[in-house]
Amino acid sequence: MSRKKRGAFLQQLVYTGPVSIFFILVILVPFAMGMYYSFTNWNGISGEVDWVGFENFRTIFMQDNAFRTAFWFTVRFTVASVILTNLVGFSLAYVLTRPLKGRNVLRTLFFMPNVIGGLLLGFIWQFIFVKGFATLGEITGLAFFQLPWLGDEPTGFWAIVIVFVWQSAGYLMVIYIASINNVSREVLEAASIDGASRWQVLRSIILPLIMPAVTVCLFLTISWSFKMFDLNLSLTKGGPFRSTESLALNIYVESFQNNKYGLGTAKALLFFIVVATVTLFQVRLTKSKEVEA
Protein backbone atom coordinates (compact mmCIF):
# COMPACT_ATOMS: atom_id res chain seq x y z
CA MET A 1 0.00 0.00 0.00
CA SER A 2 2.68 2.46 0.96
CA ARG A 3 4.60 1.49 -2.17
CA LYS A 4 1.54 2.27 -4.23
CA LYS A 5 1.18 5.60 -2.46
CA ARG A 6 4.82 6.41 -3.12
CA GLY A 7 4.31 5.53 -6.76
CA ALA A 8 1.32 7.85 -7.01
CA PHE A 9 3.25 10.64 -5.32
CA LEU A 10 6.16 10.15 -7.69
CA GLN A 11 3.84 10.28 -10.71
CA GLN A 12 2.18 13.43 -9.40
CA LEU A 13 5.64 14.96 -9.05
CA VAL A 14 6.81 13.93 -12.51
CA TYR A 15 3.65 15.05 -14.34
CA THR A 16 2.75 18.28 -12.58
CA GLY A 17 6.06 19.16 -10.91
CA PRO A 18 7.60 21.06 -13.84
CA VAL A 19 4.57 23.27 -14.55
CA SER A 20 4.17 23.98 -10.83
CA ILE A 21 7.76 25.23 -10.65
CA PHE A 22 7.33 27.45 -13.76
CA PHE A 23 4.05 28.78 -12.44
CA ILE A 24 5.42 29.60 -8.99
CA LEU A 25 8.59 31.27 -10.32
CA VAL A 26 7.07 33.20 -13.21
CA ILE A 27 3.57 34.10 -12.05
CA LEU A 28 2.81 33.43 -8.40
CA VAL A 29 5.95 34.87 -6.78
CA PRO A 30 6.16 37.94 -9.08
CA PHE A 31 2.46 38.62 -8.55
CA ALA A 32 2.86 38.52 -4.75
CA MET A 33 6.03 40.62 -4.91
CA GLY A 34 4.21 43.12 -7.09
CA MET A 35 1.50 43.52 -4.47
CA TYR A 36 4.19 44.25 -1.87
CA TYR A 37 6.17 46.64 -4.07
CA SER A 38 3.05 48.65 -4.87
CA PHE A 39 3.06 49.84 -1.24
CA THR A 40 6.72 50.91 -1.37
CA ASN A 41 8.83 53.64 -2.93
CA TRP A 42 11.34 51.26 -4.55
CA ASN A 43 13.24 52.77 -7.49
CA GLY A 44 14.46 49.50 -8.94
CA ILE A 45 18.16 50.23 -8.53
CA SER A 46 19.01 50.87 -4.89
CA GLY A 47 18.46 48.19 -2.28
CA GLU A 48 16.43 50.68 -0.30
CA VAL A 49 12.73 49.79 -0.19
CA ASP A 50 10.52 51.81 2.19
CA TRP A 51 6.93 50.98 3.05
CA VAL A 52 4.79 53.98 2.10
CA GLY A 53 1.29 52.60 2.65
CA PHE A 54 -1.28 53.92 0.19
CA GLU A 55 0.90 56.82 -0.92
CA ASN A 56 1.37 55.42 -4.48
CA PHE A 57 -2.37 55.00 -4.96
CA ARG A 58 -2.98 58.51 -3.64
CA THR A 59 -0.44 59.82 -6.16
CA ILE A 60 -2.09 57.90 -9.01
CA PHE A 61 -5.60 59.14 -8.24
CA MET A 62 -4.84 62.69 -7.09
CA GLN A 63 -1.77 63.91 -8.99
CA ASP A 64 -0.97 61.73 -11.96
CA ASN A 65 -2.42 63.46 -15.01
CA ALA A 66 -0.59 61.19 -17.42
CA PHE A 67 -2.22 58.14 -15.84
CA ARG A 68 -5.66 59.73 -16.08
CA THR A 69 -5.05 60.57 -19.74
CA ALA A 70 -3.82 57.03 -20.37
CA PHE A 71 -6.85 55.56 -18.64
CA TRP A 72 -9.35 57.49 -20.75
CA PHE A 73 -7.33 56.90 -23.87
CA THR A 74 -7.44 53.15 -23.20
CA VAL A 75 -11.17 53.15 -22.45
CA ARG A 76 -11.99 55.11 -25.62
CA PHE A 77 -9.63 52.94 -27.64
CA THR A 78 -11.20 49.76 -26.29
CA VAL A 79 -14.75 50.89 -27.07
CA ALA A 80 -13.90 52.03 -30.62
CA SER A 81 -11.75 49.06 -31.56
CA VAL A 82 -13.96 46.38 -30.00
CA ILE A 83 -17.00 47.63 -31.92
CA LEU A 84 -15.19 48.14 -35.22
CA THR A 85 -13.16 44.93 -35.14
CA ASN A 86 -16.22 42.83 -34.41
CA LEU A 87 -18.30 44.59 -37.06
CA VAL A 88 -15.63 44.15 -39.72
CA GLY A 89 -14.77 40.59 -38.65
CA PHE A 90 -18.40 39.51 -38.61
CA SER A 91 -19.23 41.20 -41.94
CA LEU A 92 -16.29 39.49 -43.64
CA ALA A 93 -17.35 36.15 -42.17
CA TYR A 94 -20.99 36.69 -43.16
CA VAL A 95 -20.08 37.45 -46.77
CA LEU A 96 -17.38 34.80 -47.04
CA THR A 97 -19.67 32.00 -45.86
CA ARG A 98 -21.74 32.57 -49.00
CA PRO A 99 -20.84 30.80 -52.23
CA LEU A 100 -18.44 33.37 -53.68
CA LYS A 101 -15.65 32.67 -56.14
CA GLY A 102 -12.21 32.59 -54.59
CA ARG A 103 -13.51 32.93 -51.08
CA ASN A 104 -10.72 30.78 -49.66
CA VAL A 105 -8.11 33.10 -51.13
CA LEU A 106 -10.01 36.08 -49.72
CA ARG A 107 -10.14 34.47 -46.28
CA THR A 108 -6.37 33.90 -46.40
CA LEU A 109 -5.71 37.52 -47.39
CA PHE A 110 -7.91 38.96 -44.64
CA PHE A 111 -6.28 36.76 -42.03
CA MET A 112 -2.71 37.43 -43.13
CA PRO A 113 -1.96 40.64 -41.16
CA ASN A 114 -2.72 38.75 -37.98
CA VAL A 115 0.35 36.54 -38.07
CA ILE A 116 2.67 39.56 -38.13
CA GLY A 117 3.53 40.93 -34.71
CA GLY A 118 2.16 44.28 -33.55
CA LEU A 119 5.57 45.90 -33.34
CA LEU A 120 6.49 45.30 -36.98
CA LEU A 121 2.96 46.11 -38.16
CA GLY A 122 3.14 49.41 -36.32
CA PHE A 123 6.40 50.32 -38.05
CA ILE A 124 5.00 49.34 -41.45
CA TRP A 125 1.96 51.53 -40.88
CA GLN A 126 4.10 54.38 -39.59
CA PHE A 127 5.50 54.53 -43.11
CA ILE A 128 2.01 54.27 -44.64
CA PHE A 129 0.65 57.10 -42.50
CA VAL A 130 3.62 59.41 -42.86
CA LYS A 131 4.79 58.84 -46.44
CA GLY A 132 2.12 56.72 -48.14
CA PHE A 133 -0.80 58.92 -47.09
CA ALA A 134 1.11 62.08 -48.01
CA THR A 135 1.66 60.76 -51.54
CA LEU A 136 -1.95 59.61 -51.85
CA GLY A 137 -3.03 63.04 -50.64
CA GLU A 138 -1.02 64.74 -53.40
CA ILE A 139 -2.40 62.40 -56.06
CA THR A 140 -6.06 62.32 -55.04
CA GLY A 141 -6.40 65.62 -53.23
CA LEU A 142 -8.60 63.93 -50.62
CA ALA A 143 -8.58 65.71 -47.25
CA PHE A 144 -8.55 62.39 -45.44
CA PHE A 145 -5.01 61.68 -46.61
CA GLN A 146 -3.80 65.20 -45.90
CA LEU A 147 -4.50 65.12 -42.18
CA PRO A 148 -1.41 65.37 -39.96
CA TRP A 149 -1.39 61.60 -39.41
CA LEU A 150 0.31 60.59 -36.14
CA GLY A 151 1.06 64.29 -35.55
CA ASP A 152 -1.78 65.07 -33.13
CA GLU A 153 -4.00 63.26 -30.65
CA PRO A 154 -7.09 62.52 -32.81
CA THR A 155 -5.15 61.19 -35.81
CA GLY A 156 -2.84 59.24 -33.51
CA PHE A 157 -5.85 57.68 -31.79
CA TRP A 158 -7.59 56.72 -35.03
CA ALA A 159 -4.35 55.54 -36.59
CA ILE A 160 -3.93 52.98 -33.83
CA VAL A 161 -7.59 51.97 -34.13
CA ILE A 162 -7.24 51.49 -37.90
CA VAL A 163 -4.15 49.32 -37.57
CA PHE A 164 -5.69 47.35 -34.71
CA VAL A 165 -8.82 46.61 -36.76
CA TRP A 166 -6.71 45.73 -39.80
CA GLN A 167 -4.68 43.33 -37.69
CA SER A 168 -7.41 41.65 -35.63
CA ALA A 169 -10.49 41.52 -37.88
CA GLY A 170 -9.19 38.44 -39.72
CA TYR A 171 -8.83 36.49 -36.50
CA LEU A 172 -12.43 37.21 -35.53
CA MET A 173 -13.51 36.40 -39.08
CA VAL A 174 -12.10 32.89 -38.65
CA ILE A 175 -14.03 32.37 -35.42
CA TYR A 176 -17.27 33.81 -36.83
CA ILE A 177 -16.97 31.68 -39.99
CA ALA A 178 -16.69 28.49 -37.92
CA SER A 179 -19.70 29.56 -35.89
CA ILE A 180 -21.88 30.56 -38.88
CA ASN A 181 -21.08 27.24 -40.57
CA ASN A 182 -22.44 25.50 -37.49
CA VAL A 183 -25.90 27.07 -37.85
CA SER A 184 -28.08 24.25 -39.13
CA ARG A 185 -29.12 24.35 -42.77
CA GLU A 186 -32.60 23.12 -41.97
CA VAL A 187 -33.36 26.07 -39.73
CA LEU A 188 -32.20 28.49 -42.43
CA GLU A 189 -34.14 26.73 -45.17
CA ALA A 190 -37.27 26.62 -43.04
CA ALA A 191 -36.96 30.35 -42.48
CA SER A 192 -36.55 31.14 -46.17
CA ILE A 193 -39.54 28.93 -47.06
CA ASP A 194 -41.55 30.91 -44.52
CA GLY A 195 -40.56 34.02 -46.45
CA ALA A 196 -38.10 35.55 -44.00
CA SER A 197 -35.92 38.26 -45.53
CA ARG A 198 -32.15 38.05 -45.41
CA TRP A 199 -32.08 40.70 -42.70
CA GLN A 200 -34.66 38.82 -40.60
CA VAL A 201 -32.67 35.59 -40.92
CA LEU A 202 -29.51 37.40 -39.82
CA ARG A 203 -31.16 39.15 -36.88
CA SER A 204 -33.47 36.47 -35.54
CA ILE A 205 -31.68 33.24 -36.41
CA ILE A 206 -27.97 33.63 -37.12
CA LEU A 207 -27.12 36.21 -34.46
CA PRO A 208 -28.78 34.42 -31.52
CA LEU A 209 -27.27 31.10 -32.57
CA ILE A 210 -23.73 32.42 -32.81
CA MET A 211 -23.76 34.15 -29.40
CA PRO A 212 -21.08 31.75 -28.04
CA ALA A 213 -18.74 33.05 -30.76
CA VAL A 214 -19.73 36.63 -29.90
CA THR A 215 -18.79 35.95 -26.26
CA VAL A 216 -15.39 34.67 -27.31
CA CYS A 217 -14.74 37.48 -29.78
CA LEU A 218 -15.75 40.20 -27.33
CA PHE A 219 -13.56 38.62 -24.67
CA LEU A 220 -10.58 38.47 -27.01
CA THR A 221 -10.95 41.99 -28.41
CA ILE A 222 -11.56 43.59 -25.01
CA SER A 223 -8.50 41.97 -23.51
CA TRP A 224 -6.31 42.65 -26.57
CA SER A 225 -7.27 46.30 -26.83
CA PHE A 226 -7.11 46.95 -23.10
CA LYS A 227 -3.61 45.51 -22.99
CA MET A 228 -2.53 47.05 -26.31
CA PHE A 229 1.18 47.90 -26.15
CA ASP A 230 3.24 46.98 -29.23
CA LEU A 231 1.21 49.02 -31.74
CA ASN A 232 1.27 51.98 -29.40
CA LEU A 233 5.04 51.79 -28.99
CA SER A 234 5.83 51.49 -32.68
CA LEU A 235 3.17 53.87 -34.07
CA THR A 236 3.13 56.90 -31.78
CA LYS A 237 5.28 56.02 -28.74
CA GLY A 238 2.47 57.67 -26.80
CA GLY A 239 3.10 61.05 -28.38
CA PRO A 240 2.68 63.85 -29.10
CA PHE A 241 3.18 64.87 -25.45
CA ARG A 242 1.90 61.58 -23.98
CA SER A 243 -1.56 62.22 -25.45
CA THR A 244 -1.88 58.78 -27.07
CA GLU A 245 -0.41 56.68 -24.29
CA SER A 246 -2.20 53.43 -23.38
CA LEU A 247 -2.28 52.12 -19.81
CA ALA A 248 0.20 49.37 -20.64
CA LEU A 249 2.60 51.91 -22.12
CA ASN A 250 2.10 54.26 -19.15
CA ILE A 251 3.11 51.50 -16.74
CA TYR A 252 6.15 50.73 -18.89
CA VAL A 253 7.27 54.37 -19.03
CA GLU A 254 6.73 54.88 -15.29
CA SER A 255 8.78 51.82 -14.41
CA PHE A 256 11.60 51.68 -16.91
CA GLN A 257 12.05 55.30 -17.97
CA ASN A 258 11.14 57.17 -14.77
CA ASN A 259 12.55 54.36 -12.58
CA LYS A 260 9.56 54.52 -10.23
CA TYR A 261 9.13 50.81 -9.75
CA GLY A 262 6.94 51.18 -6.67
CA LEU A 263 4.55 53.50 -8.48
CA GLY A 264 4.73 51.29 -11.60
CA THR A 265 3.74 48.15 -9.70
CA ALA A 266 0.88 50.03 -8.01
CA LYS A 267 -0.42 50.98 -11.46
CA ALA A 268 0.08 47.39 -12.62
CA LEU A 269 -2.01 46.14 -9.69
CA LEU A 270 -4.84 48.53 -10.57
CA PHE A 271 -4.47 47.46 -14.20
CA PHE A 272 -4.93 43.81 -13.19
CA ILE A 273 -8.04 44.62 -11.16
CA VAL A 274 -9.62 46.55 -14.03
CA VAL A 275 -8.77 43.91 -16.67
CA ALA A 276 -10.05 41.05 -14.51
CA THR A 277 -13.27 42.85 -13.60
CA VAL A 278 -14.10 43.97 -17.13
CA THR A 279 -13.45 40.59 -18.77
CA LEU A 280 -15.31 38.56 -16.13
CA PHE A 281 -18.26 40.96 -16.24
CA GLN A 282 -18.40 40.78 -20.04
CA VAL A 283 -18.30 36.96 -20.11
CA ARG A 284 -21.16 36.81 -17.57
CA LEU A 285 -23.20 39.29 -19.58
CA THR A 286 -22.89 37.69 -23.02
CA LYS A 287 -23.11 34.15 -21.64
CA SER A 288 -26.61 35.02 -20.41
CA LYS A 289 -27.57 35.88 -24.00
CA GLU A 290 -26.55 32.50 -25.42
CA VAL A 291 -29.38 30.22 -26.59
CA GLU A 292 -29.61 26.57 -27.59
CA ALA A 293 -30.68 25.76 -31.14
Binding site: Q11, Q12, V14, Y15, T16, P18, V19, F23, L25, V26, I27, L28, P30, F31, M33, G34, G44, L100, L106, R107, T108, L109, F111, M112, P113, V115, I116, G117, G118, L119, L120, F123, I124, F127, K131, G132, T135, L136, I139, W166, V174, I175, A178, S192, R198, P212, F219, S223, F226, D230, L233, S234, L247, A248, Y261, T265, A268, F271, F272, T279
Partner: protein
Protein backbone atom coordinates in the same frame (compact mmCIF):
# COMPACT_ATOMS: atom_id res chain seq x y z
CA UNK B 1 -34.31 34.92 -51.79
CA UNK B 2 -34.49 34.16 -55.50
CA UNK B 3 -34.53 37.76 -56.63
CA UNK B 4 -31.29 38.50 -54.83
CA UNK B 5 -29.12 35.95 -56.62
CA UNK B 6 -27.52 36.79 -59.97
CA UNK B 7 -26.79 40.51 -60.15
CA UNK B 8 -26.06 41.25 -56.46
CA UNK B 9 -23.78 38.24 -56.28
CA UNK B 10 -21.58 39.69 -59.02
CA UNK B 11 -21.65 43.05 -57.22
CA UNK B 12 -20.72 41.42 -53.95
CA UNK B 13 -17.89 39.57 -55.65
CA UNK B 14 -16.50 42.82 -57.03
CA UNK B 15 -16.92 44.65 -53.73
CA UNK B 16 -15.03 41.92 -51.89
CA UNK B 17 -12.18 42.01 -54.38
CA UNK B 18 -11.91 45.80 -54.03
CA UNK B 19 -11.88 45.50 -50.23
CA UNK B 20 -9.22 42.80 -50.44
CA UNK B 21 -7.05 45.05 -52.61
CA UNK B 22 -7.40 47.91 -50.12
CA UNK B 23 -6.60 45.48 -47.33
CA UNK B 24 -3.40 44.41 -49.06
CA UNK B 25 -2.35 47.95 -50.08
CA UNK B 26 0.07 48.39 -47.14
CA UNK B 27 2.08 45.44 -48.42
CA UNK B 28 2.31 47.08 -51.85
CA UNK B 29 3.72 50.27 -50.30
CA UNK B 30 6.11 48.25 -48.19
CA UNK B 31 7.49 46.06 -50.99
CA UNK B 32 7.68 48.70 -53.71
CA UNK B 33 9.47 51.25 -51.56
CA UNK B 34 11.85 48.71 -50.07
CA UNK B 35 13.78 48.64 -53.37
CA UNK B 36 13.85 52.41 -54.01
CA UNK B 37 16.48 54.96 -53.13
CA UNK B 38 15.57 57.31 -50.29
CA UNK B 39 15.15 60.18 -52.78
CA UNK B 40 12.65 58.18 -54.86
CA UNK B 41 10.68 57.24 -51.74
CA UNK B 42 10.41 60.86 -50.67
CA UNK B 43 9.31 62.13 -54.11
CA UNK B 44 6.63 59.52 -54.71
CA UNK B 45 5.85 56.67 -52.35
CA UNK B 46 3.14 55.18 -54.57
CA UNK B 47 5.02 54.77 -57.84
CA UNK B 48 6.73 51.70 -59.25
CA UNK B 49 10.52 51.79 -58.62
CA UNK B 50 12.48 53.49 -61.43
CA UNK B 51 15.75 51.91 -60.46
CA UNK B 52 15.77 48.81 -58.32
CA UNK B 53 18.13 49.29 -55.40
CA UNK B 54 18.66 45.75 -54.21
CA UNK B 55 21.59 46.84 -52.06
CA UNK B 56 18.99 48.16 -49.58
CA UNK B 57 18.40 44.58 -48.56
CA UNK B 58 22.10 43.76 -48.18
CA UNK B 59 22.55 46.84 -45.99
CA UNK B 60 19.49 46.09 -43.88
CA UNK B 61 20.63 42.50 -43.43
CA UNK B 62 24.07 43.64 -42.27
CA UNK B 63 22.90 46.44 -39.95
CA UNK B 64 20.27 44.36 -38.14
CA UNK B 65 22.61 41.31 -38.07
CA UNK B 66 19.66 39.45 -39.46
CA UNK B 67 21.22 35.96 -39.50
CA UNK B 68 21.89 36.19 -35.78
CA UNK B 69 18.46 37.65 -34.92
CA UNK B 70 16.69 35.05 -37.02
CA UNK B 71 18.65 32.26 -35.31
CA UNK B 72 17.84 33.58 -31.85
CA UNK B 73 14.14 33.94 -32.65
CA UNK B 74 14.11 30.42 -34.06
CA UNK B 75 15.84 28.80 -31.06
CA UNK B 76 13.65 30.62 -28.53
CA UNK B 77 10.40 29.89 -30.38
CA UNK B 78 11.10 26.21 -31.03
CA UNK B 79 12.32 25.48 -27.50
CA UNK B 80 9.40 27.44 -26.05
CA UNK B 81 6.63 25.76 -28.03
CA UNK B 82 7.96 22.21 -27.61
CA UNK B 83 8.49 22.53 -23.87
CA UNK B 84 5.14 24.26 -23.30
CA UNK B 85 3.37 21.52 -25.28
CA UNK B 86 5.16 18.66 -23.49
CA UNK B 87 4.88 19.90 -19.90
CA UNK B 88 1.30 21.12 -20.33
CA UNK B 89 0.22 17.80 -21.82
CA UNK B 90 1.76 15.96 -18.87
CA UNK B 91 0.12 18.22 -16.31
CA UNK B 92 -3.28 18.33 -18.00
CA UNK B 93 -3.29 14.53 -18.29
CA UNK B 94 -2.48 14.08 -14.62
CA UNK B 95 -5.00 16.68 -13.50
CA UNK B 96 -7.83 14.95 -15.37
CA UNK B 97 -6.91 11.38 -14.50
CA UNK B 98 -6.21 12.02 -10.83
CA UNK B 99 -9.02 14.16 -9.51
CA UNK B 100 -7.54 15.12 -6.13
CA UNK B 101 -8.13 18.33 -4.20
CA UNK B 102 -4.55 19.42 -4.92
CA UNK B 103 -5.04 18.99 -8.65
CA UNK B 104 -8.36 20.84 -8.60
CA UNK B 105 -6.74 23.76 -6.78
CA UNK B 106 -3.84 23.78 -9.22
CA UNK B 107 -6.16 23.80 -12.20
CA UNK B 108 -8.20 26.66 -10.76
CA UNK B 109 -5.01 28.65 -10.21
CA UNK B 110 -3.91 28.12 -13.82
CA UNK B 111 -7.28 29.24 -15.15
CA UNK B 112 -7.26 32.30 -12.89
CA UNK B 113 -3.75 33.18 -14.07
CA UNK B 114 -5.03 33.64 -17.61
CA UNK B 115 -6.59 37.00 -16.70
CA UNK B 116 -3.37 38.39 -15.19
CA UNK B 117 -1.92 40.91 -17.66
CA UNK B 118 1.82 40.64 -18.28
CA UNK B 119 2.34 44.23 -17.07
CA UNK B 120 1.14 43.21 -13.63
CA UNK B 121 4.05 40.83 -13.09
CA UNK B 122 6.81 42.06 -15.38
CA UNK B 123 8.76 44.20 -12.90
CA UNK B 124 9.07 41.61 -10.09
CA UNK B 125 9.55 38.87 -12.71
CA UNK B 126 12.77 40.56 -13.75
CA UNK B 127 13.88 40.51 -10.11
CA UNK B 128 13.19 36.78 -9.92
CA UNK B 129 15.12 36.15 -13.13
CA UNK B 130 18.07 38.21 -11.84
CA UNK B 131 17.91 36.39 -8.50
CA UNK B 132 18.14 33.05 -10.27
CA UNK B 133 21.16 34.31 -12.22
CA UNK B 134 19.57 33.66 -15.62
CA UNK B 135 18.99 37.28 -16.63
CA UNK B 136 20.27 38.18 -20.10
CA UNK B 137 20.22 34.57 -21.26
CA UNK B 138 18.08 32.57 -23.65
CA UNK B 139 17.28 29.86 -21.06
CA UNK B 140 16.05 32.59 -18.70
CA UNK B 141 13.74 33.92 -21.40
CA UNK B 142 12.47 30.44 -22.20
CA UNK B 143 11.67 29.87 -18.52
CA UNK B 144 9.51 33.02 -18.60
CA UNK B 145 7.67 31.76 -21.69
CA UNK B 146 7.05 28.43 -19.96
CA UNK B 147 5.47 30.11 -16.95
CA UNK B 148 3.41 32.51 -19.06
CA UNK B 149 2.42 29.92 -21.66
CA UNK B 150 1.39 26.87 -19.65
CA UNK B 151 -1.88 28.23 -18.14
CA UNK B 152 -3.70 28.56 -21.48
CA UNK B 153 -2.11 25.35 -22.81
CA UNK B 154 -3.20 23.37 -19.75
CA UNK B 155 -6.68 24.84 -19.98
CA UNK B 156 -7.03 23.78 -23.63
CA UNK B 157 -5.53 20.32 -23.13
CA UNK B 158 -7.48 19.68 -19.91
CA UNK B 159 -10.76 19.95 -21.79
CA UNK B 160 -9.43 17.68 -24.52
CA UNK B 161 -8.11 14.93 -22.21
CA UNK B 162 -11.56 14.73 -20.63
CA UNK B 163 -12.99 13.66 -24.00
CA UNK B 164 -10.52 10.76 -24.37
CA UNK B 165 -12.03 7.44 -23.22
CA UNK B 166 -10.16 5.64 -20.45
CA UNK B 167 -10.50 2.15 -22.00
CA UNK B 168 -7.44 2.32 -24.23
CA UNK B 169 -5.16 3.31 -21.38
CA UNK B 170 -6.64 0.63 -19.13
CA UNK B 171 -6.22 -2.03 -21.79
CA UNK B 172 -2.58 -1.09 -22.25
CA UNK B 173 -1.99 -1.18 -18.51
CA UNK B 174 -3.60 -4.63 -18.28
CA UNK B 175 -1.25 -5.77 -21.05
CA UNK B 176 1.59 -4.77 -18.77
CA UNK B 177 2.62 -1.41 -20.21
CA UNK B 178 4.31 1.02 -17.79
CA UNK B 179 2.29 4.18 -16.95
CA UNK B 180 4.84 6.49 -18.59
CA UNK B 181 4.84 4.38 -21.72
CA UNK B 182 1.05 4.60 -21.84
CA UNK B 183 1.30 8.37 -21.66
CA UNK B 184 3.96 8.62 -24.33
CA UNK B 185 2.63 5.99 -26.75
CA UNK B 186 -1.14 6.33 -26.33
CA UNK B 187 -2.13 9.63 -24.74
CA UNK B 188 0.24 11.95 -26.64
CA UNK B 189 -0.86 10.67 -30.09
CA UNK B 190 -4.52 11.07 -29.08
CA UNK B 191 -3.85 14.63 -27.93
CA UNK B 192 -2.31 15.57 -31.25
CA UNK B 193 -5.08 17.82 -32.64
CA UNK B 194 -5.07 20.01 -29.53
CA UNK B 195 -1.27 19.91 -29.31
CA UNK B 196 -1.17 21.40 -32.83
CA UNK B 197 -3.44 24.21 -31.61
CA UNK B 198 -1.26 24.83 -28.56
CA UNK B 199 1.91 24.86 -30.65
CA UNK B 200 0.52 27.25 -33.25
CA UNK B 201 -0.93 29.75 -30.77
CA UNK B 202 2.32 29.82 -28.80
CA UNK B 203 4.43 29.99 -31.94
CA UNK B 204 2.70 33.16 -33.17
CA UNK B 205 2.91 34.71 -29.70
CA UNK B 206 6.55 33.91 -28.92
CA UNK B 207 7.89 34.68 -32.39
CA UNK B 208 6.24 38.12 -32.43
CA UNK B 209 6.71 39.06 -28.79
CA UNK B 210 8.71 42.21 -28.20
CA UNK B 211 8.26 43.37 -24.60
CA UNK B 212 9.45 40.32 -22.63
CA UNK B 213 12.63 39.63 -24.64
CA UNK B 214 13.44 43.35 -24.64
CA UNK B 215 13.41 43.28 -20.83
CA UNK B 216 15.22 39.97 -20.31
CA UNK B 217 17.87 40.10 -23.06
CA UNK B 218 20.30 43.02 -23.01
CA UNK B 219 23.25 41.73 -25.05
CA UNK B 220 23.32 42.65 -28.71
CA UNK B 221 24.17 39.12 -29.83
CA UNK B 222 21.01 37.76 -28.14
CA UNK B 223 18.61 40.03 -30.07
CA UNK B 224 15.48 38.52 -31.59
CA UNK B 225 13.90 39.87 -34.78
CA UNK B 226 11.47 42.25 -33.01
CA UNK B 227 14.23 43.60 -30.75
CA UNK B 228 16.62 44.06 -33.67
CA UNK B 229 13.88 45.89 -35.60
CA UNK B 230 13.11 48.17 -32.67
CA UNK B 231 16.81 48.89 -32.10
CA UNK B 232 17.14 49.74 -35.78
CA UNK B 233 14.30 52.26 -35.62
CA UNK B 234 15.86 53.82 -32.53
CA UNK B 235 19.10 54.40 -34.41
CA UNK B 236 18.07 55.21 -37.97
CA UNK B 237 14.97 57.37 -37.86
CA UNK B 238 13.50 58.35 -41.23
CA UNK B 239 16.01 56.17 -43.13
CA UNK B 240 13.15 54.50 -44.96
CA UNK B 241 15.39 52.98 -47.65
CA UNK B 242 16.92 50.82 -44.91
CA UNK B 243 13.89 50.54 -42.62
CA UNK B 244 11.52 49.06 -45.21
CA UNK B 245 13.79 46.18 -46.27
CA UNK B 246 14.36 45.51 -42.57
CA UNK B 247 10.61 45.19 -42.10
CA UNK B 248 10.24 42.95 -45.16
CA UNK B 249 12.97 40.67 -43.82
CA UNK B 250 11.29 40.68 -40.43
CA UNK B 251 7.84 39.62 -41.63
CA UNK B 252 8.93 37.12 -44.30
CA UNK B 253 9.63 34.07 -42.07
CA UNK B 254 6.31 34.21 -40.23
CA UNK B 255 4.36 34.86 -43.46
CA UNK B 256 5.98 31.83 -45.10
CA UNK B 257 5.17 29.81 -42.02
CA UNK B 258 1.55 30.94 -42.24
CA UNK B 259 1.16 30.34 -45.96
CA UNK B 260 2.62 26.83 -45.77
CA UNK B 261 0.62 25.76 -42.71
CA UNK B 262 -2.46 27.96 -43.03
CA UNK B 263 -4.95 25.08 -42.88
CA UNK B 264 -3.61 24.01 -39.48
CA UNK B 265 -3.32 27.58 -38.26
CA UNK B 266 -6.92 28.43 -39.08
CA UNK B 267 -8.15 25.17 -37.53
CA UNK B 268 -5.93 25.69 -34.52
CA UNK B 269 -7.29 29.16 -33.90
CA UNK B 270 -10.85 27.96 -34.26
CA UNK B 271 -10.52 25.12 -31.77
CA UNK B 272 -8.37 27.24 -29.45
CA UNK B 273 -10.98 29.97 -29.23
CA UNK B 274 -14.07 27.80 -28.96
CA UNK B 275 -12.58 26.48 -25.75
CA UNK B 276 -11.38 29.84 -24.48
Amino acid sequence: MKSSSAFPRVMLQIVMIVIAILFMAPFYFLLVNSVKSLGDILTNAASWPETWVWSNYANAWRITRFTEAFGNSLVITIAGILLIALFSAMAAYRMVRSNTLLNRIQFTLFVAAMVVPFQSIMIPLLQVIKGLGINNSIPGLILCYLGLGVPLAIFLLHGFVKSIPLEMEEAALVDGAKPYVVFWRIVIPLLQPMLVTVIILNCLWIWNDYLLPSLVLQSQHLRTIPIATFAFFGQYTKQWDLALPTLVLGITPILLFFLSLQKYIVEGITSGSVKG
